[in-house]
Amino acid sequence: MSRISSMLTAAAACAVLMAATQSAQAQSSSLTSEQAMAAARAVQAYAKNDGSNPSLAVIDRDGNTVVLLKGNGAAPHNLGLAQRKAFTANMFKMKSIEWRDRTMPGKPEASERDTPNAIPLGGGVPIMVGNEVVGAIGVSGTRGGQEGDTAGAQAGADAAAALVKRLQASN
């Protein structure tokens, strides 16, 4: 009897271990260049309606740059700002406009603004697959200010997330 139970325990441990390994693999899956390019194209489609030439940055979950695009006629600060918005969305796993409001001076989270490279401006959106953040996109230079930048980045994030989901479904 004790042998059977110990065997069962071993089997259960094995199963748990395998599941853990699998989820670890899923976690390490990184944003591909195709997915990032799809995000960039979606932002450009948004910008066409908008009549603007935004700059954008797509980063993977580790913060590595996957796509950088400088908009035609962009102001000198736009591309660097897009990168910092993407960094902020990825780091804090929320839209940078939400993080901006969360970290307003006087609030308990205000000190988060001391994080190097983070920036309290709207236009950064995490690329979410389910509850997981697989990367982020930052947009700067649309017509609608921070709200417009956020909407453009959201279009990009949705396009990338759709591709990630399709890939996961086919596996």
Partner: protein, 183 residues
Amino acid sequence: MQKLINGFVWGVAGIFVVAATFALGQQMIKQFTLQSLAANDISIEQALLVAQGAIDACKKDNSIISVAVVDHDGDVRFLVRGDGASAQDADDARKKAYTARTFRSPTSVWLEHTAMDAVENGKRVDLYGQRFLENTIAKKGGMPIIWHADAIGGVGVTGSKGGEEADEACAKAGVEAIADQLL
């Protein structure tokens, strides 16, 4: 008599040709000077004129200023550190020029726009984060150089005796020095 008239006619024609050639030459020099304008950027001559205009304006109260002129990309085209000014003062002038260029407005206007409690069209705009950007500076004294609704450069001034307001007045005088070329 006929010879005299002929000589007179040829003389007038000669003067006319010389004058026309001179005028054409002047026009070509002007075109050359304005060449970078066609590429949406300021030329070195313009950068020097702007800086000189700012320096001259600030001379009125014996201020010795630092002046920076940046181009369309926000990069330095001309920078002069005033007598006795620190390297930091000169770099602040550059930052003022950059800030005015990249946000296409005088830094004084940008300051109001990015204030913590700034309101626009009755709605609160929280653009304070723009002050976190590298190379920007939250001080008055930077003016954009606007051409056809785009900022093709910027000028920044530090060190005038009248403080930041006077810095801005001098920077403005600098831009006005090339106003006729920015039409």
